[in-house]
Symmetry: C2
Subunit: 177 residues, 2 copies
Amino acid sequence: MSKKSSDYIEFITSRKSTRNFIFEEVPREAIENILECGRWAPSGLNNQPWRVCVSQHPSLKKMLAEATEYGGILESAYYNLVIFLDLEKGYNRVKDLQAIGAFMENLLLGAHAMGLGAVWIGEIINNKEQVNEIFKLSPDKYELMGVIAIGAPDEQLETKKEKERTRRPLDEFVEWY
Amino acid sequence: MSKKSSDYIEFITSRKSTRNFIFEEVPREAIENILECGRWAPSGLNNQPWRVCVSQHPSLKKMLAEATEYGGILESAYYNLVIFLDLEKGYNRVKDLQAIGAFMENLLLGAHAMGLGAVWIGEIINNKEQVNEIFKLSPDKYELMGVIAIGAPDEQLETKKEKERTRRPLDEFVEWY
């Protein structure tokens, strides 16, 4: 394997969730680069059924924080990227949700590329109506898909709280024909 | 932005679909590296609800090809990665489908990292029962999510048939608060 290939594979496989952030400004340009990664995600019929509310204002993050058990993470992250499925752009429920997954993974990898910490908060969809209200978005048009919290990682706390990253081995979910 | 960051952002944003392949062996190790990228995808509660049938035998690819309009692509690709949702591992339909999307995007990026061409064939889910039968997988346990066709790109044909890659600009789907 070439050095370049192994570097990219290592880049993809080393992405991990960051849940502890320091208070340090994240430049808007960094978020734009991250969104650019999402923008190029694949979607069925290239329908790109995503919408993002980028939230940086502390009062807004506080309101979002009230909609999830993981509010502390949202408040301490410099940015909260609130992701919605644009229902009018949707054409197939399975494929639209897969596209959102690809989009959100690209955002996470984009943050990883920028040397920032990020985490996907999915549990907030339990209170999706509350989040729609914050942004005055009609639930008939936009469905909350999750939040990606992004900030400068608190490396000390991350190391201290680090749990072993675990995944099933390949032979548990792959068969060769 | 550091050289390394811009290199990774460029890596993510430059991934594109390849639909024309040359007949050239793809080493099994390359597919293992690609699967490793999928393996580290995020999923809700880390449930990793994926299963992959890696198909390389020509008769098998021919059977798969019969289940989709894009059969020519499947037959000409050296490998077909047939992705299923493991319904017994699933816990939340929205999150499970998002996880599959993140998994499949990681596979596509893995192929990109390896310098291989790849495309996500979603339309085959219209004939999911037929695909389950090929692998003798019960539809109560495994739901077809799509196929990723992987091979060495036919650069000449790709260039000749190249259409402009298009995505909505950021300001059409992003709002800043």
